[in-house]
Structures are given as C-alpha cells and as structure tokens.
Subunit: 278 residues, 2 copies
Amino acid sequence: MPHDTHETAPTRFVEASGIRFAYRRFGRPGGTPLLLLNYFAANLDNWDPRVTNGFAAERDVILVDYPGIGGSSGETPSSVAALTKDCVEFCRALNLTRFDLVGFSLGGMIAQQLGAEYPALIRRILMLGTGPRGGEGMVFDDLWVEELDDEVGLLMKAFFTQSEPSQAAGRAYIERLKRRVVDRDAPVSKPAAIAQLAAIREWGGIPQKDRFAMLGQIHHPTLVVHGNNDVVVLPINAFLLAEHLPNAQLIMYPDASHGSQSQHGEVFLEHAKLFLYR
Amino acid sequence: MPHDTHETAPTRFVEASGIRFAYRRFGRPGGTPLLLLNYFAANLDNWDPRVTNGFAAERDVILVDYPGIGGSSGETPSSVAALTKDCVEFCRALNLTRFDLVGFSLGGMIAQQLGAEYPALIRRILMLGTGPRGGEGMVFDDLWVEELDDEVGLLMKAFFTQSEPSQAAGRAYIERLKRRVVDRDAPVSKPAAIAQLAAIREWGGIPQKDRFAMLGQIHHPTLVVHGNNDVVVLPINAFLLAEHLPNAQLIMYPDASHGSQSQHGEVFLEHAKLFLYR
C-alpha cells in the first residue's frame, strides 16, 4: 500500500496540556521521525509539498500547527520559549522521544531553544532561513500582519528575489501550495499572527551580554540553509549560526531569498539527505 | 587498463611563453577537464590524494606548478594578475579551451581573475579557502616564508583547528601527502615563496573604490567551500564571495580551518559532484 503524502495525509489531532494540536504524519514509517516546525503565521498547508514529499519519500514526516494556529486550539504564545514548551508537550503526546528536526524561520528559533533546553529529544537539526537570538536586523520592523491579507504577494516578495528565475520559481511554488485539495487547514487568525510576530521580535532583541551564548549549548549536528539574498532574515545570520554553533554545516544558495529551500528544492533535498544519513 | 592516479601519474612538461611548466594529468579521460590551482608555496605533491583521486575517479584531472614553483622553470610572478596570464598560456599549450576549475586559496584568487578576464575558458568554478580581492584580513601579516621550514607544523596549525578530531584529520592528511613515492616534485624555493607571498598580499589590499566589483563580472556557476574556523583566510571572506558573486553556492564545514576540504573530504567530494554534474 502506498504511503500517505502531503496531499493525502489526514489532519489528525492530539491533546497536550489543554491544547488540541492539529498535525499530519506521512511518508515512510519507522526510523527516526522528522518533525517540521513552520514559519511565522503559517499553517499545515503552507509547507511546500516538494519539500515535505521529498523528505517523506524516505522518512516518517510530522507537520504540526502551533497553538492557536490553523486547526490547533489554544492561545498562541508570544515568545519562542513558550512555543518551545508547547512543542515539547506535543512531542510527549505523540511519544516522540528522539527525532530529527527541521525548523524554518520561526521554526528554526524554536529548534535552537529545543536543542539548548531538551538536547536528548533531538538527533540532528536543519535550520532553514533562521538566525540566532539577537541576530543582525532580526526585529522585523518591516513585517506587518496586514501584509498577510495578500498572501501570494507577500510570499512572492519575501520568499523569492526579484530576478526572473527566482520569480518563476515563486510562481511554481504558489501552484504547489494548492496541490492539496481536500481537508485543507483552517486559516491563521490575525490575533495568532500578532502573537507570533511578538515572539520573533522578542527573539531578535540583542541580549545585553553573551549575545550568542545559547549557540554554544547546541551540540547537535546541524545543517544551516539560507538564501544569499534573504530579505526577511539577513544572510549574515546564517553565517553567525555557522560560526558560533559547535557543529554546524552551512549551505547558502544563490539568487535566493527566504524560500531558498523551495527555489533550490532538488539540490536542497540532496544536501539534506547527505546531512541526515551520513 | 586502469587510469593513472595521484600516486602513479608521471610528471610531464610543456613549454609556454618561455616557461617549462611541470604538470600531471590523470583520471578518467574525456569530458570537460578539471584544472586544479594550488595554494601559496605548494607544489604538485602538496595536493591531498584523497581530493585529487576523488575527482579523478570521474574526471580528467590536471595539476600544474606555477612558474618557478617545484618542477616549473621561470620566475615566480608576484601578482595574481601575472600568475593568471601564465595560467592562460599553460592552458593554451595543453589546448584546454573549456574546463572546470578548482582554485584553493591563492588558486582561488587566480580562479577569480580568470573568471573575470577569460570567462569563455571556464565552465564551473570551485573556490576553496579563498577570498575576494580586498577581502577581510587578507594581508597575511602572520605568514612568513620562514614558517615553511617546518612544513608539517605549519600545515597542522594552519589547515586544521586545535580540536582533537581536526588534529587527527591533520595527521591523516600528512600521511596521505607521502603516498606518492616515486617521481616526487622539486621543493619550493624561498625566493619563489617570497614572490607568491607578495602576490597574495597585493590581492588582499582593499581597493579605494568598488571593493567587490570584480565579483560582479564572474557569472560562472561557482561553489565556495570554506572552514568555519579558517585562520588563514577568515570565513567572512567566503560569505562575501557568496554575497557578491552572481551565481555562487556556499558550503562551510564545522570545526575546520584552511584544509576543510581535506578534513571533510568524503562529504566535500559528494558536494562537489552535486555541483559539477547538475
């Protein structure tokens, strides 16, 4: 029997600490699960099927909505630390005791907090389009929840560069997001997006001392992936991660913004496999 | 009949513009040749057999001594621009009209000059442990030709970090350099090393304007590879290359200094293949 995919996996629910988490689990069962943590104001349908199905061809993939996002109940926390605690409760409810982690943008911030606070849960970490606590230009002054009213416009502007090849990759990406037709996720509410914006802004504040101290606590093999022209999380932040994390490999793709792993999906999946399976 | 390898390929000679170039050519014949340009004060025997044989398993590999270095006659030029001209003459003598290029450190500087001045000669470029003209901290104040008297000590200090895994990789690397027993290259003379040191220092001087202008002229698909703790060419220089080259992918390896492609040889060869063959 063929495995479920991004398009066919049913949305399921699990209760943990008073929250009913919406999640999907699909791909090749068995082995170390691969948990994917999503970006700001994104629900289960905002994952690129090219990426999720690419992983699912070889891995037991789990997508989850943060509290108060999409189909998950509860109030959306306004700090990465609180989001991390909720994530741990979700993992316990699913009996995920050791997994690989893909964190994209906000998800990469949670991945760092998880790696530092709950190291035993995690085997390897992929950090996509993210930056360290107190990174460079990570207060997200330019980002407003009103921009979410034009989702396609925002994605084309933030995830892809203005070059024609990148814009073409963006259009293909937008089409892929429609591939799942049945059992789509609930939209992200404005209050939930506002809370998450507060969370990423808090993360971006520069600490008064020991700016990158958290990174020294994350000893997991880590793959940092970034676009060389990311307008949301400046590329220097990926460099800072690679410089300060004890065991991180950095891959930066050309002519790419915040959606570099989608634009360069084919080679990204090859790179991710090399990293995850060696 | 098995192909020649790093260990068995005879040293050959070709005349171009008054210089008798020493070179070796081995691996799988046919296809686009792969020309390797070496680092400061290094001769043919200073290439890591793990790397050269890794390439040669699938490619027609060419190693060459710069003028006045090892077995090559002539005076060693003291600028990257002049070294580049000599390199072009060598390519013409071998009738290399289009090739892939691997430039390590000084070789990566020549690769940039070649890419900007002779774009049609080159298909793809790998830049290892190198930086842009006028990069950060690239005046090489700490480097003295006297250090070459203790070659092993210099390599262990400059090519590998002080961590035990990196030092162990260094010891293995030093052993690999001895694998070729017959027909070894002539040593590098002190005057030749002094001239090359002048060349890399000149390259590192920051231009008064348009600091990274040359990079905008290099449109070749480029793979930049660097150690995240390179003490010879600071890692920020690899980031600058990825930021300013129009079409560069960057890969940075953890706990690695100037010899990152040797320390992480296995995954480096996989990454290089993905880049060269896609």
